[in-house]
Amino acid sequence: MAAGALAHGHDADVIGLDAVHHGPAPKRIVTGFGFWIFLLSDMVMFSCFFAAYAVLLGQTAGGPSGAQLFNLGNVAIETGCLLLSSFACGMASIAAEERSHRWFQIAMAVTCVLGLAFLAIEFREFADLVARGAGPSRSAFLSAFFTLVGCHGLHVSAGILWLLTMMAQVFAKGFRADILRRLLCFALFWHALDIIWVAVFSVVYLLGSAV
């Protein structure tokens, strides 16, 4: 019976039918796809914060508006940092698949430094706003602003912790299959954060200071 089934499967393979199944997908594809779905759900969560920000944009309660608060020069530097760190992260993915320890660690270090620079600028901006009396409790507009941009900042902070963990894991354990799967997920996460930042600087800063 088993032999018959096997022979049948073999025949179908020879004919080249599309219906032939090659068994479950490799683990790398399953892991990557699962993480992709997590990222999409994360984006759906961000879309709720974006919707809240868009709705509350004009509700300044007599307080300062975006046009008075935002410094677009700072935002441009932040954008540059995050964009270049995304590029460096891509270089790290290539280095990992080429099994080059040196280039991998260099590219990851560059990614980390640029991410930290982004966080430092953002933290300074937040501290400056709070010092000027424009903290999250000032108006509905500022609550929405701090929630949305702060949530992205928290994601970047978590990403940097993950990045350092991956550098240590590759250093200690080398490019094992499970480490490479984690690297795939990390790279997806980091690039997705950059996509969300594109929405943040366009909607929050550029549109927010135009209103």
């Binding site: 594809i29 909607v203 135009a210």
Partner: protein, 129 residues
């Protein structure tokens, strides 16, 4: 990885993976993506602060540029393309976009109508007396 691609041409790709391409072309892909992203970002910042464009068109232009840049990131950095080996990734993305569109578009639509139909605040205060 290369043996994995050798088994079958139709094998799926994990999101973020590229099908066996040489290092040179992969770096080139990221460089093209970076150049396009910088170009779109610079245009966005320029349009936001200029008087050369018809003013009411600026918000639309910024949103279109942002969507274009997200597309560039998806294709060149995340390698989500419309190829046959990417079907599942694209289907998940399409569903995510549907939900995002419903949440943002729906919120703006509903809240805009609420604002239009709401009684002005001073009249509400008078009714409460």
């Amino acid at each position: 990885m290369s043996e994995l691609h050798g088994v079958s041409h139709q094998a799926d790709l994990a999101p973020g993976d590229e099908g066996g391409v040489s290092v040179k072309y992969r770096v080139l892909g990221y460089l093209v993506g970076l150049a396009l992203a910088i170009l779109l970002t610079a245009t966005s910042f320029f349009v936001a602060g200029t008087n050369l464009v018809w003013q009411p068109s600026i918000p639309v232009a910024i949103i279109v540029l942002a969507i274009a840049q997200m597309g560039v990131h998806l294709v060149f950095f995340l390698h989500i393309t419309t190829g046959a080996d990417n079907t599942n990734n694209v289907m998940a993305l399409a569903f995510g976009l549907l939900i995002i569109f419903l949440v943002i578009g729906g919120s703006l639509w509903i809240m805009d109508h609420m604002n239009q139909n709401m009684m002005p605040m001073d009249q509400i205060m008078q009714m409460q007396r």
